[in-house]
């Protein structure tokens, strides 16, 4: 399959153990110069262990076995010191969350400069020139004097990229390069990474995001619970998968979601009239109006920092609008509006059993416990989970429990703030489907806040796009008939 002379990195029968338990593998792959491999898997699939095993940075309690060859040189048999000598020179890594990978007390420029100076061993002046050239080519001009804490996620990523590749290592391992970045920025990261194979290097990218994998191309390797389930050219694997797991993973993509028609009622449950919302003296949203009907599903989208969450909290009555009015339907109880949160464990008292939290709610509202267990079983929550504390239950299960908790008080409106952004794709699809069904069956109006346009398009009946304040307001492109062109955040001073 590969021509030996061109092979940049090859991994054969790589396994990672803790004690006698296999956490990862066996996995095999070969990447040629100018080639690219995307390792795809859900959280906990052991993807990061692969990078650590190749580098030799596994935690002390873990052990790797297998054959790792870089440019014809065996790595796994090298002494740790000799292996570390290849870092930055032969093997570069782009770490997860670049913010935390840059020294918080050192400005950007010296962090890249030191790599040119001490890894490439250039004299100080040439290293300076090389650093300036890197900053220029990555569009980082002006960022030199800033500390990592003052950089945006995308800029920190580029600084980390510059530092990692300064010494010209021909192989780049990138671990979840899009983690913590808005979907809008994913394209920029992909094109940054694509420079590596174009320049004749080899690239290994680890991601959980099918869309990113699709953009990157190259070869793909699908991991499930540490085992390799499928391998092949990315386009082939992602178009005609051969294993059930890959199929399920692909079907979880919002583009493939089954659309359901809403049971829309004429009764309006919430009316917001020309709202003005400001935070910290800055006007975020001006002249926003919304009429929400029972059973309706509305999605609010927009880039981060545009005020989506603030808008949601204002609708919930948690924040006062700077101007405008919000009216609820008279039939709604004070607890008629409930909210779902991005990080399910943070939505429950951390040290109390879930059953205790749920019983509190039931008791206060005079709801029989049997009714609560009934709701839970309808949402497919196993009762034994309630004996645990929030930190001991998976995110998907916990999000369903928090939906059940909200349903206990019979709300008319459910507000959801990125409820699935921390969940795996399959769990995400199931959760959003569940919400859609509940909206239909219980006639609950739902407002979803998300940064992911694909989810908004697949799930909502109506979309409201908030625009960054600098950009003149424009209604969402009319491609989707469900989009309501009236709603849009307007630019303001």
């Amino acid at each position: 399959m590969t021509v030996p002379g061109q092979e940049a990195i090859s991994v054969e029968a790589l396994r990672v153990f803790t004690g006698q338990n296999v956490l990862l593998g066996p996995i095999d792959f070969h990447v040629r110069e100018g080639g690219m491999l995307v390792i795809i898997g859900e959280t906990g699939a052991g993807k990061s262990l692969a990078v650590q095993a190749i580098l030799g940075t596994l935690h002390g309690s873990l052990r790797a076995e297998g054959r790792i060859t870089v440019n014809g040189q065996r790595l796994d048999t090298l002494a740790p010191g000799a292996r570390a000598a290849l870092w930055g020179r032969k093997l570069a890594t782009l770490p997860q969350e670049p913010w935390r990978s840059l020294d918080p007390l050192m400005r950007s420029r010296p962090q890249v400069h030191e790599a040119h100076r001490f890894v490439s061993c250039l004299p100080r002046r040439s290293a300076g020139i090389a650093t300036d050239r890197t900053f220029g080519s990555l569009g980082l001009h002006g960022a030199e004097r800033y500390l990592p804490g003052a950089l945006s996620g995308g800029m920190a990523q580029r600084v980390a990229f510059a530092a990692a590749t300064a010494a010209g290592a021909p192989i780049l391992l990138a671990d979840e390069p899009t983690k913590g970045l808005d979907t809008v920025r994913h394209a920029a990261v992909v094109s940054l990474l694509a420079q590596v194979p174009q320049a004749g290097g080899a690239l290994v990218v680890i991601t959980h995001d099918i869309a990113v994998a699709r953009r990157l191309g190259g070869e793909a390797l699908i991991l499930k619970e540490g085992r390799m389930v499928e391998r092949g050219p990315t386009r082939t694997v992602l178009v005609s998968p051969t294993t059930p797991y890959t199929k399920a993973l692909l079907e979880a993509d919002p583009a493939c979601w089954q659309r359901t028609r809403p049971h829309r009622f004429d009764e309006s449950v919430l009316m917001a009239d020309s709202l003005g919302i400001a935070r910290g003296g800055r006007v975020l949203i001006d002249d926003f109006s919304l009429r929400l009907h029972a059973g309706e599903r509305v999605a609010i989208t927009g880039p981060s920092g545009v005020g989506k969450t603030t808008l949601l909290d204002t609708l919930a009555g948690l924040l006062m609008p700077a101007r405008g009015t919000i009216r609820r339907a008279a039939r709604l109880a004070p607890t008629g509006m409930q909210k779902l949160y991005q990080d399910p464990p943070a939505a429950f008292p951390a040290r109390v059993r879930l059953s205790c939290s749920l019983r509190d709610v039931a008791r206060i509202h005079g709801v029989a416990w049997a009714l609560v267990t009934d709701i839970l079983s309808r949402l497919g929550v196993h009762p034994s989970l309630l004996d645990r504390r929030p930190g001991e239950v998976s995110g998907g299960e916990l999000q369903r429990i928090s939906i059940a908790r909200a349903l206990t008080v019979r709300p008319g409106i459910l507000l959801a703030d990125e409820p699935t952004s921390r969940l795996d794709p399959i769990t995400q699809r199931d959760t959003m489907n569940l919400l859609a069904n509940i909206a239909n069956e219980e006639r609950i109006a739902m407002v979803l806040v998300t940064h992911d346009n694909a989810i908004a398009e697949a799930w909502a009946n109506r979309r409201i796009a908030l625009n960054a304040p600098q950009v003149p307001a424009f209604p969402d492109s009319g491609s989707n008939p469900a989009t309501d062109p009236i709603m849009s955040g307007r630019e303001s001073a």
């Binding site: 870092w87 935390r100 918080p104 007390l105 050192m106």
Partner: protein, 344 residues
């Protein structure tokens, strides 16, 4: 878990006076905050001293006269002299106003017992106390830095566990008990070092070690945690994987990052240091301000109490200010604050 109060507090944690949540403060603001603290110190000490004066049992004038001239030499006339001199016959509000305004003019008055100006006494004692404090901080760093770094580089290793056990035991011995033990062993049993007093540099050794050991018991763990945290940080690993050697990573990244919590903790320890100086000076009869304070309380020499407590309080504020400035020096984030980054 907390700031310092009295001898030893809980292990580590929230820095004193919320130093960290004030990243964005300018130097001026830092100076102003410490200036306010200094004024507060003066007011608290002044009011307390005034209340002490009022609380003197019996006729204060007679007591003071007795203290000053001796019981044999004292009579009604000398008591009246004292009364007039100290204004003891005015209404208490007027006396308090006088008292505070004298303080505002840095007029600390005369010792009620010796009749000498308090300022002169303090001028001599302050040097001795500063010497002891410097010796103690030096000793604590000499213990804490090597032990803490060695423990932090191999967490869970032999040095780590041994130093942890030692730290737990040392923390349970109060300064003065530690002083007694050191005196018994080194000065009396082994006859290596002088017991007490201050005549030469060798007299500095035992008190400094007493205080230094007590401080190092906690600060060695702080150094250890700082080093462990820095070594486990993602930026440390990234510095290695981008190709920098262990040594370069250590000098260019780890040291500065690990120094920050350690220096901040020295600030937390200043309260122990001041308290320790008071107690250890008394144990070793060290002629410093702390000893003078305890002696003054014992002999009810209230102007002396006020002068010494005020000096110690202001010393505390001044040292805190030094730590504030040192933290700013180490941490560029405090200086960069106020200028927003290119968050695009």
């Amino acid at each position: 878990m907390s700031s310092s109060i009295l001898w030893r507090g809980p292990t580590v944690s929230v820095p004193f006076h919320g130093r960290t949540d004030e990243h964005s403060r300018t130097v001026i603001a830092a100076l102003a905050a410490r200036g306010l603290q200094a004024v507060l110190v003066a007011l608290i000490v002044g009011i307390f001293s005034f209340v002490m004066m009022q609380a003197l049992p019996g006729d204060a004038a007679y007591r003071i006269a007795a203290g000053r001239y001796g019981y044999d030499m004292m009579d009604a006339a000398s008591a009246e002299t004292v009364r007039a001199e100290l204004g003891l016959d005015q209404h208490w509000t007027a006396q308090l106003a006088d008292w505070i305004s004298a303080l505002a003019k840095f007029d600390l008055g005369r010792s009620l017992v010796y009749g000498t100006p308090v300022m002169d006494e303090i001028a001599v004692q302050l040097g001795h106390s500063l010497l002891l404090a410097a010796g103690a901080v030096l000793a604590s760093l000499l213990f804490a830095l090597p032990v803490g770094v060695a423990a932090g580089l191999r967490p869970g290793g032999l040095v780590d566990r041994a130093s942890l056990g030692l730290s737990v035991l040392l923390r349970a011995i109060p300064f003065f008990a530690l002083g007694i033990l050191l005196i018994l062993v080194f000065a009396i049993r082994l006859d290596l070092l002088p017991v007490a007093g201050f005549r030469g540099p060798e007299h500095l050794v035992l008190p400094s070690i007493t205080l230094g050991l007590g401080l190092a018991a906690v600060s060695s763990r702080v150094v250890r945690d700082a080093v462990t945290d820095a070594m486990a940080a993602e930026w440390q690993l990234f510095s290695r994987t981008k190709g920098l050697s262990t040594r370069l990573t250590m000098f260019r990244h780890v040291l500065r990052n690990a120094a920050l919590p350690v220096v901040a903790y020295v600030g937390v320890q200043l309260a122990y240091l001041i308290e320790g100086v008071v107690i250890v000076e008394t144990v070793f009869a060290w002629p410093g301000i702390g000893h003078a304070l305890v002696h003054a309380i014992f002999s009810r020499d209230i102007t002396m109490v006020q002068g010494t407590a005020l000096t110690l309080g202001l010393l505390y504020v001044a040292l805190n200010l030094c730590i504030d400035l040192a933290c700013r020096g180490i941490d560029p984030r405090t200086r960069a604050a106020g200028r927003t980054g290119p968050r695009s």
